[in-house]
């Protein structure tokens, strides 16, 4: 029998960076645990469709050098904080000077704060299920720690640009930890971009810890280029009556993988997860979401829409887990998928696991093509077939994009999606 492939030891080389002692210690421990870590294969349930796209070649094991400025890929022209190849670049960042928020790179934390952070790092994630987040924990060289104090309300969105500079082959391990204090409120925009054409891997982890009554809007754009594999994880823990609004928009690549795990830990917590993924050529996109209804009286709403063109492939796996004590849970999951060509593939899998008996749960998943009757209606008014296709395809996802509450992000996203769709029909 062929032995299961394991992570190349090259990935376990000592990582650089200037971390405070407690975080260094944590990283070392995590590294040791990774020796002989089995890599996901076709037989790994949560990597069934994507493992063949995961290419952890030895040349990717090297940490990408950090410290340069944001490249031309920047979609959003706003004051922002830059994380370049996993390291916060203060010279290229605008740190907002606001009451109620503390923003610091991991490197700049004092030992006490770093120690407290080290104890909490990864506590929003199910690490067994998210293999690659474990690699991040062994390799991160820096990170961004955002603390919003209880009761603070941030009026303006906070933009974080996470740039992978693939001027050489290698990997980057960006990490964010956001502590949203009780009854505070903020909007965070994460924009993942890349520059350079060499093969690169970005293995990112973002964690949200929401206190009682906290309110976080999270917008995540995945816009990297075609030489970059991006495997990202987002974890969120919500205490009583906290609310998370998540909007993710992603464009395909050689491999794009996003695991989003939300735990509703106390009564009254609620989340709304909206996601859009599009892909073309031979691109691959994989969204895995998990919502854990741990406590009673929590609500979740999830809507994901995907569009696959050419010979591309999109995976959506949405899991809702309602624990035994989570009575009066309400969960609604909806996933619609559009195939623009016969060569494209979308695999959609809703998973409901319900152990409580007094819950309201609904889920639906559809895979289809553009509606012939709508198309005929539009062309019968003199609109060209290509333009009609574009209008109908944009309409399919616009309903979600229009819900992005930051106008600048919404407009940029719409423009990018329009461009993608026009291109998809030009080449068809």
């Amino acid at each position: 029998m062929k032995a299961a492939p394991t992570l190349s030891p090259a990935f376990l080389q000592p990582a650089g960076g200037k971390l405070p002692e407690p975080l260094l210690t944590l990283r070392q421990q995590r590294g040791k645990a990774l020796v002989d870590m089995p890599l996901p294969t076709r037989k790994t349930e949560n990597w069934k469709y994507s493992s063949r796209h995961l290419k952890l070649t030895e040349e990717l094991a090297n940490s990408l050098p950090s410290g340069r400025k944001a490249g031309p890929g920047l979609a959003l022209d706003h004051p922002h904080i830059l994380i370049h190849n996993g390291v916060v670049v203060p010279e290229a960042s605008d740190f907002p000077e606001l009451d109620g928020i503390e923003i610091s790179s991991f490197a700049d934390l004092d030992d006490d704060t770093a120690g407290q952070l080290a104890e909490r790092l990864d506590n929003t994630l199910d690490n067994q299920a998210i293999q690659m987040a474990r690699l991040n924990a062994a390799r991160f060289e820096d990170g961004l720690y955002i603390r919003l104090k209880p009761g603070a309300v941030l009026e303006e969105p906070l933009y974080v640009i996470i740039e992978t500079d693939a001027g050489a082959s290698g990997s980057a391990y960006p990490r964010l930890y956001v502590d949203v204090g009780a009854n505070s409120q903020m909007t965070l925009v994460e924009e993942y971009i890349s520059s350079g054409d060499d093969a690169a891997l970005v293995d990112s982890v973002t964690e949200f810890s929401l206190g009682e009554g906290a309110n976080l809007t999270s917008i995540r754009l995945s816009l990297e280029g075609d030489s970059v594999q991006h495997i990202g994880a987002t974890g969120a823990r919500l205490l009583g009556h906290a609310r998370l609004d998540s909007h993710t928009v992603g464009f395909g690549g050689p491999l794009r993988r996003h695991d989003l795990q939300v735990r509703l830990e106390q009564p009254g917590a609620e989340c709304r997860l909206n996601g859009v993924a599009v892909s073309q050529g031979k691109q691959h996109y994989d969204n895995h979401t998990t919502i854990e209804h741990v406590a009673p009286h929590c609500n979740s709403e999830e809507t994901y829409r995907n569009i696959a063109a050419d010979e591309s492939h999109i995976v959506f796996n949405g899991r809702i887990h309602i624990h035994e004590d989570a009575q009066k849970s309400a969960a609604d999951m909806n996933n619609k998928n559009l195939l623009l060509t016969t060569g494209a593939e979308i695999d959609a899998k809703p998973e409901l696991e319900i152990y409580a008996d007094d819950v309201t749960c609904a889920h639906g998943a559809t895979i289809g093509q553009l509606d012939d009757r709508s198309l005929f209606y539009l062309v019968s008014r003199g609109i060209s077939r290509q333009h009609a296709n574009t209008l109908l395809t944009m309409a399919f996802i616009n309903e979600l994009v229009e819900q992005i509450p930051v106008e600048a992000v919404r407009q940029t996203t719409q423009a990018r999606l329009n461009q993608f769709i026009e291109q998809a029909f030009e080449e068809a």
């Binding site: 509606d371 009757r373 709508s374 005929f376 209606y377 539009l378 062309v379 019968s380 008014r381 003199g382 609109i383 060209s384 077939r385 333009h387 209008l391 109908l392 944009m394 309409a395 399919f396 996802i397 616009n398 309903e399």
Partner: protein
């Protein structure tokens, strides 16, 4: 202007139209009446270019051009407009965006400059008033959540905006209450002009109380079995299709 010669059409191998002949001159309003299943809607869909229907023989000329060789969008640009019996709802595309795209496609075809968003808005607001629709309908998705009557008025609105050579109204009167019927009829009467023809397809006489046609044709079993002036419609109202020797058996034959 429109000349249909011996038109045969089939859907899934079954012949629905069995030799239609019809001539329409500019400025004329024709009504085609007939029982369900006679082929009325098939005729309108074939003229608009719905590929579900296969033209097996015959010829259709619009201003001397062979219509059957044109794609649906080219027919629209050449001046064919079909007001649908069942307009499609398209959530996510605003009515305004849809109408402006359609108008600008026509303008580009005619070598005119495209209308700016502001200029188009003025035009669209004016025309929504003429069909008694509130301007808020422009912001909604195309036909999304519109009532039956609002959908029909939205069709007439499009005809007024696109100014076709030939407007085909497929059962535009069906499902309307009397007030909605009057509004729609008023819109259709506004459409009438010397260089435009209108072909109304209807099951009932009642629309013809408000819009007096120049010619009336009875379609049955895939053929026009009788033609006359507006008196023919009244005759049908009094005696029914059976009075013409046309029965529901025709429907059975067509099926």
């Amino acid at each position: 202007m429109l000349s249909i010669r011996n038109l045969h059409a089939a859907v899934e191998g079954e012949e629905i139209l069995k030799g239609i002949n019809l001539d329409i001159q500019p400025g004329e309003v024709h009504a085609i009446m007939g029982p369900n299943g006679s082929g009325k809607s098939t005729l309108s869909q074939v003229l608009a270019g719905n590929e579900t229907f296969e033209v097996t023989s015959g010829e259709v000329l619009l201003d001397g051009k062979n219509l059957l060789e044109l794609e649906t969008e080219e027919r629209a640009l050449a001046g064919i407009f079909l007001a649908f019996q069942y307009p499609v709802e398209i959530p996510g595309v605003s009515n305004l965006q849809f109408l402006r795209t359609a108008v600008n496609a026509h303008r580009a075809h005619q070598g005119k400059e495209e209308l700016s968003a502001v200029d188009f808005m003025k035009l669209a607001k004016d025309i929504t008033q003429r069909v008694d629709l509130d301007a808020s309908f422009l912001k909604r998705g195309v036909n999304e959540g519109f009532s039956g009557g609002e959908k029909k008025r939205n069709e007439i609105l499009q005809a007024l905006l696109l100014e076709p050579r030939l407007a085909i109204l497929d059962e535009t009167d069906s499902g309307l209450d009397i007030d909605a019927l009057k509004t729609v009829a008023q819109g259709v009467n506004e459409l009438r002009s010397e260089d435009r023809a209108i072909l109304m397809i209807t099951h009932y006489q009642r629309l013809l109380d408000h819009i007096v046609p120049d010619k009336v044709h009875v379609l049955a079993g895939g053929r026009i079995v009788k033609s006359g002036d507006s008196e023919l419609a009244k005759e049908l109202e009094e005696h029914g299709y059976a009075g013409l020797g046309v029965s529901d058996d025709e429907e059975a034959t067509a099926n």
